[in-house]
Symmetry: C2
Subunit: 600 residues, 2 copies
């Protein structure tokens, strides 16, 4: 605890007393001087009330210090700051460094797991990791091989560890974990290997398992109350996790849970989305494939689902529904409502009532989206809540071994894992997006445990008849479902955004720029070329009263897989290699933290 003395004494007391692990963490999250959680806060707003750096002075930003992680390939996530210590993680092999902010980032401790490199080929989209979490004096690392480790935050010593999955059957991890109360909530990857997705809660104290909820399967597996758990306002009924599947396909049904988690403490609900159903060949899995592609609201203590909303029934494009749920309070039609906004891979920006699961808005957040004409918003309609699929772009209707061309967005969606930010000041969402379309040819594939179970060949390219680039950074009004402004980018914006009370929004680009724009107008105020392409998320904190901005560089992720894994065949990397080939003209592999500040 010595390292935390810089915290206000109230906080220190709170943490020492440790009535509940959550109380301490909540205090840290509420303190804008810390970056206590990957998502900025439990609401996933990635909004900081710090305003020393503001739209008038951000143009003077300078690099304050830097740190090389010693690992190449894609660096997602961000480094939490607790007190005077910053916790930097790396992609596989998932090293964790505790850096002393009082001493130019001197290394207080380093934790280097010994992981079997056999896990690398079963990671679909680079060896990324979205960062560590903090609670109760512990740092939580969820390794690529699904080992969940709790480290003493002060010493780096292992307190406990538990295996969450089995890499031999394709279960891996890239996500961070969400500490809630006395538990950490943990997801799983492997949708391209026929993994059946699950979310698990472990005890912060000792790592024992508290509950596990699968994305599909019997009611006892998916933790629903058939009468009380709702979908669009109606009870899901018995066997909802199996009765939209043919035979045992649900057992290898995908719906993995590798995205971002949010939490509403008042409702005690955890929110997250599930991924694509396996395989990518829709003909092999008739039915709606519930509960893949679904927003889920679950009780944090029991795991029992309060409501579901399946965005893309019977996916035909790999539009994983795992993107973050951003929780806001906004007025709609004169009523202050507890909202959940979600920018889905499928290209629709959804706003729901997060208490009831009522669907309020579903609009395209990229005009290029063409696979659907939109969502049926009529509660009395038999297709209520379902997107209307355009036959030309239906890989199911076109059939196996037919190349469906010109589908927008591409499989990596109008937005992938790169998290958006929300500013309560402007009431706008700032969304890093992909502006990419694809050709998609499904083919029959058979399942072998631990082997790729994809069943489609893809090609990707910039959205045609547009600005020629592969991305936009947009401001979105979640209540009206409208784009306020859109900044064209040459490549997908694969980095997470940060909004601040200084009326500035930050994001990174795949070429390696950190950019700052005016939160109201989108005007570019600052840019700096960091060592490598950015797929990390911008964070902010103060040290000694001064505001800093931090970002990890290190090109990779699905978009950067060509560079990261050294692939050159255009169809490799599930089609991303060809699409993003020009990236190698701008940047090379890296793994660096760059920290910015205003001049003294």
């Amino acid at each position: 605890m010595r390292k935390l003395l810089a915290l206000s004494s109230a906080l220190v007391l709170g943490m020492t007393a440790m009535v509940s692990a959550n109380d301490g963490l909540k205090g840290l999250i509420d303190d804008p001087n810390q970056w206590a959680i990957q998502t900025g806060d439990y609401s996933n707003q990635r909004y900081s009330t710090l305003d020393q750096i503001n739209k008038d002075n951000v143009g003077n930003l300078q690099v304050a210090w830097t740190f090389s992680t010693g690992v190449l390939r894609g660096h997602e996530g961000s480094p939490p700051v607790i007190g005077n210590v910053m916790y930097v993680h790396t992609p596989f092999p998932n090293i964790v460094y505790a850096l002393d902010l009082a001493n130019d980032g001197k290394i207080i401790w380093k934790y280097e797991p010994k992981q079997d490199p056999d896990v690398i080929p079963v990671m679909c989209c680079d060896t990324v990791n979205r960062g560590v979490a903090y609670a109760d004096g512990k740092i939580f690392l969820h390794q690529a091989d699904t080992k969940l480790v709790a480290l003493d935050a002060e010493t780096g010593a292992e307190v406990w560890s538990v295996m969450n999955g089995d890499a031999a059957i394709g279960e891996t991890n890239t996500a961070t974990v969400l500490p809630v109360g006395d538990k950490v909530i943990v997801g799983i990857s492997g949708g391209e290997f026929g993994v059946r997705g699950h979310v698990t809660a472990y005890s912060i104290a000792d790592g024992s398992q508290v509950w596990r909820a699968y994305s599909m399967g019997p009611d006892s597996d998916i933790l629903v109350d058939p009468e009380k758990t709702t979908h669009l306002g109606k009870p899901v009924g018995a066997d909802s996790g199996t009765n939209t599947w043919e035979g045992d396909q649900w057992k290898i049904g995908g719906g993995t849970t590798w995205g971002w988690y949010s939490y509403d403490p008042d409702e005690n609900l955890v929110y997250y989305g599930t991924g694509n159903p396996s395989t990518w060949n829709p003909a092999q899995r008739p039915g709606d494939n519930r509960w893949s592609m679904t927003i889920m609201a679950r009780d944090a203590d029991t795991g029992i689902a309060k409501w579901f909303y399946q965005m893309t029934p019977h996916d035909e494009w790999d539009f994983d529904g795992i993107n973050e749920m951003i929780l806001t309070e906004q007025e709609i039609d004169g009523v202050e409502r507890k909202l959940l906004t979600h920018f889905d891979r499928n290209g629709l920006g959804y706003t729901l009532d997060r208490v009831t699961g009522e669907l309020l808005v579903a609009e395209k957040f990229d005009p290029a989206v063409n696979w659907t004409t939109g969502v049926d918003m009529d509660p009395d309609s038999s297709t209520y809540g379902r997107p209307a699929v355009v036959a030309e772009y239906s890989t199911e209707q076109n059939g196996e071994d037919v190349n469906s061309t010109g589908i927008c967005p591409a499989a990596l969606g109008t937005k992938d894992q790169q998290p958006a930010a929300y500013s309560p000041q402007t009431e706008l969402f700032y969304v890093p997006t992909n502006h990419v379309c694809m050709d998609y040819e499904p083919f029959r594939v058979s399942y072998t445990a631990g082997q790729p179970y994809v069943g489609a060949t893809l090609a990707m390219y910039p959205a045609p008849d547009s600005h020629g680039g592969m991305g936009n950074f947009i401001a979105w009004n979640g209540k009206t479902g409208q784009i306020e402004w859109s900044l064209p980018e040459q490549f997908s914006v694969w980095s997470g955004a940060l909004a601040t009370a200084g009326n500035v929004v930050f994001y990174g680009t795949l070429e390696g720029y950190l950019k700052a724009v005016d939160a109201t107008t989108g005007e570019e105020l600052y840019k700096f070329k960091t060592p490598s392409g950015i797929i990390g998320n911008v964070m902010t904190y103060t040290y000694d009263g001064k505001q800093y901005i931090g970002i990890l560089s290190g090109v990779g992720g699905w978009a950067g897989i060509g560079l990261a894994a050294g692939l050159t065949n255009p169809n490799d990397g599930l089609g991303a290699v060809g699409g993003y080939a020009a990236l190698s003209d701008y940047t090379a592999l890296g793994g660096q933290l760059t920290v910015f500040a205003l001049p003294n």
Copy 2:
């Protein structure tokens, strides 16, 4: 040539006409806006007449842009700038990038050799490379596996290549090459593998071999004229390269040539030093072991030696004599003389007349040096020019299997490859030094081609009874042989220095700091923590009228071998692992270029 349009038209004309490759390069070297050669100029002064950044404003320096090389481990050397293009190289696998300065470092071309990784274990001291050279529209890369490649500077296409050595017998390369006239001068590494050192001149036009001079062997191999080539003013006589060796030991005699080369165009002499005799066990090679540990002056066109000076006859400590020769014109005793100053691994700073080879000064540049009481400067003495060895620290006299303790400096010398700078303004040399001592236990070893041929066990530690650190950055008066000031550093200063007309001297530290100090007083004016430990050499150039400072980060080299190669046994890395173990508290592996400038 399009890329070079920013050069003055006179230069462009000169280069297009290309009367001699050297004329074009000399013009570029004389233009301070370029960084046309690794060593700053042919004199190895590493002095720039640029003075936009000066001692009054250097404190405002900012990071302008950065570039990750995509490779980890030790990054030595620096990136040449020719016109608007910067050429960045990497350690093994020795990638070369041409970066567009007009476009934030966009990659114009990338050259990635395919090298057999089997060369890595036959590199003694990390997989470093000291950078590419430019001449005649070509970029010269001397790869780890000793392949010398000429690339079209504009396209990166291979123009020609030639193998300079054979990695199967331990011949490798880490050095840059020296373009002189219509030739490139090329050295070899492998003193720890019983390689017999040689220097070779290849035609710039087509890579054909012009001459090769071995460090030891018959007169025809070592390119001497027994009557005209002198040692301390006297002809070397016949068989000087074999008659101080027992039997055939000279055939595996070491004296490799992996350091920096300098050139005096008026004398047409190339200067360099030779490394340690093999093995490190002195008992196995009675005699002076000529011409290991020798400063050599050779005619650039024929390779014939004009003079030699052997600094450490019969080495007992691995004090390779390869450090750079810095050529200056200074007044001594009222006479303007053409001097050569050299800071040797053995801890002595030498000044010689570079035309005649006359020894003028030989003084300790670290007071900790204890293996010698000094050099006999009496021309009439029978031991003229020889260092007097202190018996206690003589590993020869103490004998095989005896641990000689407390020898200063350690095997990596008071200075290793890290090059010093010289300012004609202050007439001072700025020397990055090691402040490290050692225990050294020689043992009998037998030679097997391609296998380590070391024969000694070492331990290293900071110089006792001093400031506790392992390095100093010093200012040295080469005429008097005195230290003007000395800045203590926690670790050896393994980075090359740069002196500028702004009265500023720059250097990097193993923790990763770039530092700027007042050239007159040594006062620290600026420091910045770059991503990784610095063993590269600081360079400067202008783009669009603005002065920039560039430095490669990436910890490694012999000092950083523990981190670079992941070694933890203290005796590993020839004793460096234990000595520099604390480095891992400060930095991790990296490979980044950081470019600095004043604010706009």
